[in-house]
């Protein structure tokens, strides 16, 4: 039966979702947290169903998270690697989609390095598609797991001050988080050097800061973004050491935030580049491991809903 609150075939992005839909996805995810912590971690919700992880871009944690989520729902999960697929033989993205579609999967979890590629593929298949990250566009399950982490720790999203720091320009995590957090009534700040702030970002409703001390002042949540090393060699940022000096999260900068501010990171972390180990490993305030844990629950909820919506169509 099609889900009453979230009747969509795909989850391609957070943009456009309503607060009710977002809360529903979070509520559904909540149910799986206990299951994931139990000894016997499997349900039969998607018994006999097929999920394909189609990753055109390298990933370990997101792919593993989707794979575990599918397995724990009782589904068959197939991982398609870019290197071994026919893509490297010259097949187009759409041909790949049509080919896979002919095998009748229930849900495709897709990651691609180009923004919009997941939507292009979703338009050509009959099954549900969940966006596992497309270019610099969206990464909806990451934003959902971040929101679930915050909601569980702070009891709410509305009214919180969330500072998102780092490479906003290239970050799909940041974009999905803007949409989700702003939709849920949080205040979003971004903090980055001007070279990593996308143009027109203010129009999305976020506040822009270039100074960590000012941007972190009284923040409830400090969300660090990964900076890729190829951006650090002079084109966007002069060097790692300069970046860490001015934009890396350490105790001194963190002291501007609220005393109980949470420290979040989508991983994988670059210690000594965007975050000091001392802060990353702060047991009380760092939620980095919790985010990974809740990611599986969020993906279970999303896969289950999309598989059911697809069957009802």
């Amino acid at each position: 039966m099609r889900d009453q609150v979230f009747p969509h075939r795909h989850l391609l992005g957070i943009e456009g979702l309503t607060p009710i839909e977002i809360n529903h996805l979070l509520d559904c995810s909540e149910r799986y947290i206990a299951l994931n912590r139990s000894t016997h971690k499997t349900t039969e919700a998607l018994k006999g169903r097929t999920i394909i992880n189609l990753f055109f871009e390298n990933s370990t944690r997101t792919r593993t998270s989707f794979e575990l989520a599918g397995l724990r729902l009782g589904a068959h999960v197939i991982n398609m690697q870019v290197e071994t697929s026919s893509v490297t033989k010259g097949e187009t993205l759409i041909d790949t989609a049509v080919t896979l579609n002919a095998m009748h999967p229930d849900v495709l979890a897709v990651r691609h390095s180009d923004s919009g590629a997941v939507k292009l593929l979703a338009d050509k298949v009959n099954c549900g598609v969940v966006n596992g990250g497309d270019g610099s566009h969206e990464h909806p399950t990451q934003a959902l797991l971040d929101a679930l982490t915050i909601r569980r720790r702070k009891g709410k999203l509305n009214g919180l001050v969330v500072a998102i720091c780092g490479d906003v320009l290239h970050s799909r995590v940041a974009r999905s988080n803007f949409h989700l957090l702003l939709t849920m009534g949080a205040r979003v700040r971004i903090i980055a050097p001007r070279t990593l702030i996308p143009s027109g970002i203010e129009r999305l409703g976020v506040e822009v800061f270039t100074d960590m001390a000012k941007g972190l002042r009284d923040a409830d949540i400090v969300m660090m973004l990964r900076v890729q090393h190829e951006r650090m060699k002079g084109s966007f940022i002069p060097s790692v050491r300069e970046y860490f000096r001015f934009f890396g999260l350490d105790r001194a900068k963190l002291s501007q935030a609220k005393p109980d501010a949470l420290i979040m990171h989508p991983g994988p972390m670059n210690r000594g580049t965007e975050i000091d180990s001392d802060v990353a490993d702060d047991f009380e305030r760092s939620t980095i491991r919790e985010q990974v844990e809740l990611g599986v629950a969020v993906r279970m909820a999303v896969l289950e809903i999309l598989a059911q919506n697809g069957a009802a169509a």
């Binding site: 070279t195 270039t210 002079g234 084109s235 966007f236 940022i237 002069p238 050491r241 300069e242």
Partner: protein, 438 residues
């Protein structure tokens, strides 16, 4: 070198000129230790206290020491052309009490250690206060951003690729954006390099002489492009040594639009035109090249109207080997520290510019745009002063320069305006009567 602390010094019978307040009139000034203790029309009612050293200015001008925002100091790397010692001695003889060096030394000033090295070596001279700009791009190669944040923490006042333009538009865009992150100043040598492979201004003279030209458009195109990127990034931008009439118009328009833009020019460009190249005189081979008489007049007008914010010497010392060459092979650049004040005062004598306005472009304007607490005669400020006679004529004899390099395009010319005494932190560091640099 340890310096005895200066005591109390009273400058009486002076014509005090302080562009920051607009004061130009008879007055007196008292320094205690390193600072200005008081300044006014009548401080002592004719009887200064006994423990004070009296300097009778005899009606001569007493103004803030000059702030020269663009010099090349060849140390480290080319000390045979100029060292911090010879450069500072030349500066105090020219009335310059603060100057800012370009990063095109060897090694290039693109790391903190070199900033600190120059600062420490300059402090040892205990003469003119020396600051530096950091490189905008690593190695001045125009490709990768330099560590502006760390360089600024070490003391760099702004960022520039020195005598090279930051030519790649994407690199300049990112340099401006990155600088805007911290509100740093980017200083551009505005010259499109693909148009600038000549040796003098493009025009009738270059054609007659058979020399390859650098068209005025090299500067105009680069400025217009840069200002688009400034508007896009919201950065602070300073165009160095503008030389064409259209450059003045472009800057005027940018200022009218509210962009955060400033510019300077060097005495070469308001005192000389391309005719100075004359008989293949390599001392007049400058970068940018000397332009037409129309351009020169427009630069004068830009200074008068204030569109051009500052005058900088653009001091570029070169040894004989670099200049005694066929024109095309000779190095670009002219010595400028020791003629800066006199040639600038020429604007007062021949172009009807008020003396205080000439001094404004040499003191408080550059200090303000670089964020330096200098260039003004206020109580509590460091006593950095220049005493000069604005009318006394003398002939530029480059061989007499304190600078190691004698490559002045003004060599042999008569000028008016003589530095009599230079004071830094309350201490006399140059006196024309003794000729000595203490």
């Amino acid at each position: 070198m340890s310096i005895a602390a200066p005591g109390k010094v009273a400058y009486i019978n002076a014509r005090i000129i302080d562009p920051a307040t607009g004061f130009d009139g008879p007055g007196e000034l008292l320094t205690i230790g390193e600072e200005i203790a008081d300044v006014g029309r009548k401080l002592f009612e004719g009887k200064p206290p006994k423990d004070v050293q009296i300097i009778d200015c005899d009606g001569q001008c007493l103004a803030p020491g000059l702030v020269d925002m663009r010099v090349q100091l060849r140390e480290p790397g080319e000390e045979h052309k100029e060292s911090l010692k010879s450069g500072c001695e030349a500066a105090v003889a020219g009335g310059v009490t603060t100057m800012v060096g370009l990063p095109n030394t060897n090694p290039i000033i693109d790391d903190e250690a070199t900033v600190e090295y120059v600062a420490r070596r300059a402090r040892k001279q205990a003469l003119t206060k020396v600051y530096v700009y950091g490189a905008a791009t690593k190695g001045l190669l125009g490709k990768e951003l330099a560590e502006m944040g760390l360089l600024a923490e070490a003391g760099a006042l702004g960022f520039t690729d020195a005598t090279k333009a930051i030519a790649d538009a994407q690199v300049l865009r990112r340099a401006l954006a990155y600088a805007a992150t911290f509100n740093f100043l980017i200083i551009q040598h505005p010259e499109e390099p693909s148009l600038a492979n000549g040796v003098m201004n493009t025009g009738e003279i270059s054609t007659r002489m058979g020399l390859s030209g650098i068209p005025r458009e090299a500067e105009i195109i680069m400025l217009e492009r840069d200002l688009r990127l400034v508007a896009m990034t919201g950065a602070r931008y300073h165009a160095a040594h503008i030389s064409t009439a259209e450059s003045v118009e472009i800057i005027a328009r940018a200022k009218a639009r509210g962009l955060n833009v400033t510019c300077d020019t060097a005495p070469f460009y308001f005192a000389l035109n391309e005719m100075a190249v004359g008989d293949y005189r390599t001392f007049a081979k400058l970068s940018p090249p000397l332009r037409t008489e129309d351009d020169r007049q427009a630069i004068v007008e830009g200074l008068r109207s204030g569109i051009i914010d500052c005058i900088a010497s653009d001091h570029a010392p070169h040894d004989q080997d670099s200049k005694r060459l066929p024109f095309a092979q000779a190095a670009f650049g002219g010595s400028g520290l020791e003629t800066l004040l006199a040639v600038s005062i020429g604007l007062h004598h021949s172009a009807d510019m008020k003396l205080i306005d000439v001094l404004r472009r040499l003191t408080v304007e550059p200090a303000a745009l670089l964020g330096l607490d200098a260039g003004r005669l206020a109580k509590g400020k460091k006593a950095d002063l220049v005493m000069f006679n604005p009318d006394r004529g003398w002939k530029v004899v480059a061989d007499d320069f304190r600078s190691k390099s004698k490559n002045s395009p003004f060599d042999g010319q008569p000028v008016q305006g003589k530095v009599l005494r230079t004071v830094i932190d309350g201490r006399c560091v140059f006196s024309a009567t003794s000729g000595a640099v203490s």
